[in-house]
Amino acid sequence: MDFRPLNEVERRQLVTALRGNADRGLSLLMDRQTTYTGTAEEVPDEEVIAAIKSVPCHY
């Protein structure tokens, strides 16, 4: 696979979002191809399946 890396700004934004998700339940939003599009403090119930809520994983 030809890995296409994140640029520095993208990486910084993603790390902030991931930590917000893990620490305070910030939802990560994705588009129709499952690509990250941003974050939201609250997601309506009908859209919850399209957002990554905080999942208490091991990693």
């Binding site: 993208e10 993603l14 930590r19 191809q33 499952t34 990250y36 990693y59």
Partner: protein, 141 residues
């Protein structure tokens, strides 16, 4: 208890898991939805995720002991060896092999779509690790 051969398992599939998958697939671009296939006594979810710029093929296996036993998610796309990756490119998501009390998987709260979302987050962490050598989230206690 069998997911596919007991009344409890079938009811769980029809009332919880399949509706969750249908909701996930609604409006999704072709190739990015979840497809379900029976493989022996297990149910296998096949799908692709593209958290950033790269597309990954994955499968999540619901064994006959699911949901008591957590789903297993494997990345089919070759990865660099990294933290939280077990043999066979299985993601370490729920502290596999731990006691039920220590496991992060809660069968009363989660559906197979939560496993897909957990895999998405794992891959987002992988993309960061690939460039920095650091896993962006601390290991959960």
């Amino acid at each position: 208890m069998g997911l596919l051969d007991t009344e409890f398992g079938k009811r769980r599939l029809l009332t919880v898991e399949v509706p969750a998958v249908e909701a996930y697939n609604r409006g999704r671009d072709p190739g990015f939805g979840i497809t379900l296939n029976r493989v022996g006594g297990a149910l296998v979810l096949s799908y692709q995720l593209k958290p950033c710029h790269n597309v990954y093929r994955l499968e999540t296996r619901l064994l006959s002991s699911y949901p008591t036993v957590p789903p297993e998610t494997r990345v089919l796309t070759p990865l660099k060896h990294c933290p939280h990756l077990l043999e066979g490119q299985t993601m370490c998501l729920w502290r596999q092999g731990s006691t039920r009390a220590a496991s992060r998987w809660d069968p009363a709260q989660f559906t197979c779509v939560f496993a897909v979302q957990a895999a998405w987050r794992w891959l987002a962490c992988y993309e960061v690790w690939h460039e920095t050598g650091e896993w962006p989230l601390p290991e959960a206690k």
